[in-house]
């Protein structure tokens, strides 16, 4: 029946048109591919640093560059303050974030020595709640391979990672414990904490 055929064709064409328009529309939300692309870049940058054979001070500054480029430093810094972030002034938050960035670079960058001769490989990516978890495996010399995952979100307006989890240990949560203890030691004085962080790590 020709009329049926036509209707089917029209239907088919419109479905195809909708599918095409969906496919060609620029991806607005973060998806698995974009999360993976980001972490592929992070990992390739890290692998380049640990195979470069440069002195530790250079590795630390390289790590700081990678961290500020691909991680959402301000949300990580803010969340390590916990509820105390709410009573900090905008200027304090800004100074704290700047100090925190250097602190993280020194504290974790100096560990890059242990990564020399090793490599990281990206494995899988999946969506968890509002973020994407990219799992990778680190192969270090003389050690059993271990899992490193990155949590990626676009809620800052850009695709950035907001946590790095090594064998279940979250950098963000561990630093929150540490920063909380440092703040307690200063009886909650955020300015004193900022001065400590500038020298710490």
């Amino acid at each position: 029946m020709p009329s049926n055929l036509t209707r089917r064709r029209v239907l088919g064409a419109s479905v195809a048109a909708v599918a095409l328009s969906l496919a060609s529309r620029p991806a607005l939300a973060l998806d698995d591919n974009r999360a993976r692309t980001l972490i592929d870049q992070v990992v390739s940058d890290i692998n380049r640093v640990i195979s470069s054979g440069q002195p530790l001070s250079r590795m630390i500054s390289d790590f700081e560059r990678i961290f500020t480029r691909y991680a959402d430093v301000s949300i990580i810094a803010r969340s390590t303050l916990g509820a105390d972030a709410n009573r900090a002034s905008a200027a304090q938050l800004k100074a704290y974030t700047a100090a925190f960035q250097g602190y993280i670079a020194r504290k974790y960058g100096k560990r890059f020595n242990e990564f020399v001769g090793g490599r990281i490989e990206v494995n899988t990516v999946r969506q968890v709640k509002s973020w994407h978890e990219v799992k990778s495996t680190a192969y270090l010399r003389g050690q059993s391979p271990f899992e490193v995952s990155f949590l990626v979100s676009d809620r800052s307006g850009k695709d950035l990672f907001f946590d790095m989890i090594i064998e279940g240990i979250s950098l963000r949560l561990s630093e929150r414990t540490e920063i909380g203890a440092m703040l307690d030691r200063r009886n909650g004085d955020i300015n004193a904490l900022i001065e400590d962080i500038k020298r710490g790590g």
Partner: protein, 265 residues
């Protein structure tokens, strides 16, 4: 990575009261109203004292001894001792795999044990890994209790062994008694596992010394840091979905949600 000290004394063999202990351990189900995802540390005062004791012991004995041990013993011998220790822990792992009804794991660990004990000359070498056999399950009775549905219980710090939970403490006790090697081997031979275990523990203390030193001696509050890291890592290795209780930091940017429980991790 963290409970390195616990491998030190994992292999102490004893041979009594097996059944009673398992019954006791199975009863050791702490209050079910306690959410297992938060940090539950009602014994913090005692734990902190024990932590300080362990820290002193590490500073004065374990760290210097591990440094001397790794300096004196050639690297190849050290590797052999670590391998022997790992191989001798397999029979106990096989028992636990069976108790967890993880028959695949029990089979893989058995195959590994047979290959490494024979071709690998008593575990001195690791042909199983070179042949690409499945990775060891590396389990324990604490995991068995977890599989059986026992709750994690309170965080505890054990003398010498360091961070643990009530569930894992029962696990350690039962593992000491259920290691088949205790019953198969005769009196002097069954000490091999203990000695190799101590050696492997010293090697690990030195191998991960930067990490351990950072936690114990460079943290603002080494007790809180060790507790956080131990619980995160232990829950991860027990297959706990870390993401289930993970809070999106972007949610806490404004509003009442920002008044987050500081112990929410």
């Amino acid at each position: 990575m963290v409970p390195v000290l616990s491998s030190l004394f994992r292999h102490i063999p004893r041979a009594t009261g097996l059944v009673g202990l398992i019954v006791l351990a199975a009863c050791a189900r702490p209050d079910s109203s306690v959410a297992s995802k938060d940090i539950f540390d009602p014994y913090e005062r005692n734990n902190r004292q024990m932590h300080e004791f362990n820290r002193g012991l590490d500073r004065s004995v374990v760290r210097p001894v591990s440094r001397g041990y790794t300096a004196v013993i050639p690297d190849d011998i050290e590797t052999v001792i670590v391998r022997v220790s790992r191989n001798l822990s397999l029979p106990s792992d096989i028992v636990n795999n069976i108790l967890q009804l993880n028959m695949r794991g029990a089979f893989h660990d058995s195959a590994r044990f047979i290959v490494n004990t024979t071709v690998g000359l008593g575990g001195a070498f690791d042909p199983a890994s070179e042949m690409g056999m499945a990775a060891p399950t590396n389990t324990d009775f604490g995991e068995t209790l977890h599989v059986w549905g026992a709750r994690e219980g309170a965080y505890v710090v054990l003398p010498l062994l360091g961070p643990s939970t009530q569930r894992d403490t029962w696990g350690i006790v039962v593992d000491v008694f259920t290691n088949p090697l205790t019953y198969i081997l005769d009196s002097p031979e069954n000490l091999v596992g203990t000695v190799a275990g101590v050696g492997a523990g010293l090697s690990n203390r030195e191998k991960f010394s930067e990490t351990i030193d950072q936690i114990l001696y460079e943290s603002a509050d080494s007790y809180a840091q060790a507790r956080s890291i131990y619980l995160q890592n232990r829950r991860f290795s027990l297959g706990g979905t870390a993401s289930a209780n993970y809070i999106d930091p972007y949610d806490t940017l404004s509003g009442p949600a920002a008044l987050e429980d500081p112990n929410a991790e």
